[in-house]
Symmetry: D2
Subunit: 359 residues, 4 copies
């Protein structure tokens, strides 16, 4: 069944495999008259692009995006926007010796059972390469949302090491290759990652994304709540195993009076909350505070250590996954997580617009 | 925009408010020829029903379900199944003195901003009473799934106290009013909850749901993955702030070799996994292992302690939420969580059926 | 697969069988703050209600609608609106002797093949009784559209007799039981129908619906065009075999210069069209002119004449369909057709609202 | 709102403008393991391709299709199939002098009102060039349907001249450039079209599509009926103003006993119908007979005669639409109509598969 689209009013559909000719995304439902060129999209792709530091895969992809439709004389027309990115640095031969083996932690076995076939070259459709398309869609979503809404992500934990939230500095995030808001933690992580990489191992991470400037009122009870749409969107990212909003799992350990955010009128006459355990969402609807979401990314499954597995013939065997891989795939998940939040917000912005004409 | 439905092939739509005449659900896409009577549904509603122990709200609702359509001579016909539950024990006057105030932690403020109106009686549409409809839909979903698939939930944490997983006993779950699989923890929790209740406070919880017997191959990349659909569905439950699959957030602290579940052929010639950090899902597709999901439930926001808030006139005020409330709403979330998983699985079972006729 | 809903932003779901306890509709996506009571809905149901003249079925149904949710203190809240109509005059025994036979022209055979079961009492789910739910949904849609948009239907052909369009009088439509805008034709039709009824036969009809006051800009290329959504909606009505917009099939016999509606600025400075072959829709988008749609309704298949058929055992047999039936089901299709147009327009009104905030 | 997709389980999304770089379609929901190469698609595109006779536009497009994803080692994988066709013969300058004028009968005015912008080059998104993508999707749909289902279309009326159905010869359809099943009519039409073309005029047409081999049981009441999905799909084709199934509008002039198709067991023990006024569909579900649909195509709106119109500044003006155009756009609608029926049928084939595993 069709399953490669996300969103309702703002809806995108991705296509393409890791080692195919190209990958792409069709964005449908973008309002007209929004200025859009490739230069609005490319910087976000560059942020996700592989091969930029020793902490990410060495696959070299230019990830140059081309707009094929939906833009006329520099602005969107309301027609679907087709974006294409060519695959240029595919080394499919890396995969020849594992084409009959199921890599542990990967989708090889499940794709094979589900579809009766799998494109083994770089994971085919299940590759995280697909996330470039999400980032491109997210760039368009940001244009719809406008400048008053900021969506920023950061890595807040790698392995056992969490950042010190008292040292949180958004400026630091772009100054280290780990998207870390805590420079001290960044240094520790860099050392750890060097060791992990040399061991041919990998490590998990937690990413946090904050959306500020979102007005109260977005999100639709009961089954299209803003938080449930965010949870769904983040959980579709490769390797994500958990999602939380605001206090998240920590809320289990709070009392009602600790958890429920009290309200007061601010000095400028606007409603304000005295805390943000809700993560900016109450009853599935934004409340005007920062929306905060975190997601857990499992360690890269492609590692240089010998693992036990089986093959398509139903025999026991062993496997080492060579190829070029990220020691911590959570790092490059930052721009992807931001993009997913941007897409969900753009959809709900347009949904809310349909609800109340007078607002 | 329409937002009260969940699912694609198996799709249900709920309606009704906490203090209205009735609540109900229309289940569309149920295959024909499945035996179905009210007695297939009622036990699951009884499990969720309020007023059954001192640890849940004292509202007394019979929650008697009636089938109004879609069943003929004892079996489903393929036509939509309309289920209705009357509201009988509404005490709307409890809410008169708070009708202009926004209860902290509730959806009062956000509904008011979004819709420009809110039904203040018991939370109206945002009440957890709506979850009775989910449980009814889940009962039908279980009939579709058949007896070979078991979906069982349990509370695994209340406040700071987690169960000892070594003591996990599924039989214990039905023997205490807290759905706790660890009898020792259940006793501790009961003491804690008595204190919390007497304080007019509340506490959060974590619920775990396990689905066993699910064959490999269900779930649809990229945007309708089994885990993303589960995450979405669980996050739509009132008060849920986090969802995780398998190792979940713990995966952040694992290395690739610790995390990726190795495979071996079993003695009976079937593929097996040597661990289950994946929680039964790889690449968004079930792998034949138990599917394990956990979700965090925040403490009940309705508490008997004085809190700061504002009113609809934009003035500071205070509030105590009287009425009848659960000291730990996570407890009654167990059958709801089970129901959501059942609905997602039934949908994906039918989706997979459409994919490969020969299977 | 779920298939009992129509619409995207404004979406309704119907349920119920001809001889079940009740029928109903859940309307999701109605904006908040719209005044709504049963008295807004009942008159439209009364217009469709059976048993009101000798030209329609003698089944006596009060068709009293109840609002079960979604309305608070007299206005909509944005929550789903559940409407229920009880079935009161079911005579299921009428159907006992045909329960194993497939009535020619009915859905008996196809339901039986598709679902492996059919509710033979009055056609079950395939009965035109379901259209009462559409009419109820249409009444809510009209409230969303507001008073500036008028949607009026009329019968324009019964059997071989078409109305004389020069005599078209909208006031006449409500003054005869045939919804005929041409009083002269109405008299002829009445005579014909009396003969047809006495013969135990039936006859087909063509219905026209005109929506005036629709602003230019509604409808969404390429696959949710206003005309394609109208065509779909009308074709879902029981017994409808054809749909046309504007010049319709007559356009096949026009030249380009005859067909394409020329434009001029009106004296009040507004764009106007000099003809309306387009039926108010160009490129799938409303152009500000009257939207005109026609649909053909086949003769009632339940007739008192002996017909050849087969039974569920695969044997040849004969059948006479007794029960109470309309000699021309096209007559009561008028309010149903109006309702479908209203629902499609309300959906596209809200869709357009999401597109351009500034409009 | 997103509106460039059609279908549920089998779902395609088109993109691209008449004079952009390329056009394309993403097909999602195609089952795996279906052999597919460009050569399965190209012949259908060639059938629709412009410039092949004097009766169609002289724009020369190779319409060479490329598969960019979803196929691995010659078979589909279940991943989305991205198809691209380059635009090569665009002469955008033809449109410079009409870029501020609204062409009568075209979507120029409505796009401009709806979106506030329009790509005037060849009609932009509203151009019938988009239908090449539908034909490509239809080719994939045919592969899913398999060889036992045949979908064939023909022109049955041009202007006032209908074919003689007694002379119907499917072999003739491919032997004349007008897709006419009646060689005598084809000769008359050719003469007429020559005159029309020389006059710079155009003419309408009626197209009939027949699908044979469709088993009973496809189509889903109430709102996704097979005939309503067909009506919607056909009505989305550019210039289509009417759709009918089986007896269609002719059913208005039939009595119940003339219309309702009687049944008998055939000599080989299978149910058969003695006539086909239903056009193969009863109650929205296929009955095993040929599915017959007809649609009316208005005359090409681009003609070489002077017409009255207005411009974007709100002034009266005149217009002649030069460029290269079809004198009867209904001719090239034949392969497009076939493709739409193929797509609808493939979707419903997969939908039915999900309903009843045991069948």
């Amino acid at each position: 069944m069709s399953s490669n689209s996300l969103g309702t009013i703002f809806r995108f559909t991705t296509w393409g495999e890791s080692h195919g000719t190209a990958i792409g995304v069709v964005i449908d439902g973008c309002p007209p008259l929004i200025p859009l060129t490739e230069t609005d999209i490319q910087p976000w792709l560059d942020k996700r692009r592989p091969g930029q530091s020793r902490f990410t895969t060495q696959r070299q992809e230019g990830d140059k995006v081309k707009i094929l439709s939906g833009v006329f004389e520099g602005v969107t027309t309301g027609a679907p926007i087709s974006l294409v990115i060519e695959n240029t640095d595919t080394r499919s031969k890396d995969y020849d010796d594992i084409k009959d083996k199921f890599r542990p932690g990967h989708a090889d076995y499940t794709y094979w059972v589900k579809y009766g076939i799998r494109d083994y070259r770089g994971g085919g459709r299940s590759s995280a390469r697909e996330t470039a398309c999400r980032v491109a869609a997210g760039a368009v979503a940001r244009k719809i949302l406008g400048d008053s809404i900021k969506i920023c992500g950061a890595v807040v934990q790698i392995g056992a090491h969490k950042i010190d939230r008292n040292r949180w500095d958004w400026n630091a995030v772009d100054q280290n290759p780990l998207f870390c808001p805590d420079p001290t933690a960044a240094a520790v992580w860099a050392d750890d990652l060097d060791k992990i990489r040399k061991n041919g191992s990998s490590i998990g991470a937690v990413v946090e994304v904050v959306a500020s400037g979102v007005p109260a009122g977005w999100g639709e009870p009961i089954y299209d709540k803003l938080d449930s749409d965010i949870a769904r969107a983040l959980m579709t990212i490769n390797a994500v195993k958990g999602v939380e909003i605001g206090a998240g799992f920590g809320a289990a350990n709070l009392t009602g009076e600790e958890n429920a955010d009290e309200m007061r009128m601010s000095s400028d006459g606007k409603p304000q909350f005295l805390s943000n355990n809700a993560g900016g969402i109450l009853g599935g609807i934004s409340n005007g505070q920062d929306i905060t979401a975190r997601f857990a990314v499992k360690p890269t499954s492609s590692i240089l250590q010998m693992r036990q597995t089986i093959n398509t013939a139903g025999q026991n065997t062993d496997i080492i996954t060579r190829g070029r891989h990220d020691p911590c795939v959570g790092i490059r998940a930052v721009p992807v997580g931001e993009a997913m939040i941007a897409c969900v917000l753009a959809d709900h912005m347009l949904r809310q617009r349909s609800l109340r004409a007078a607002n």
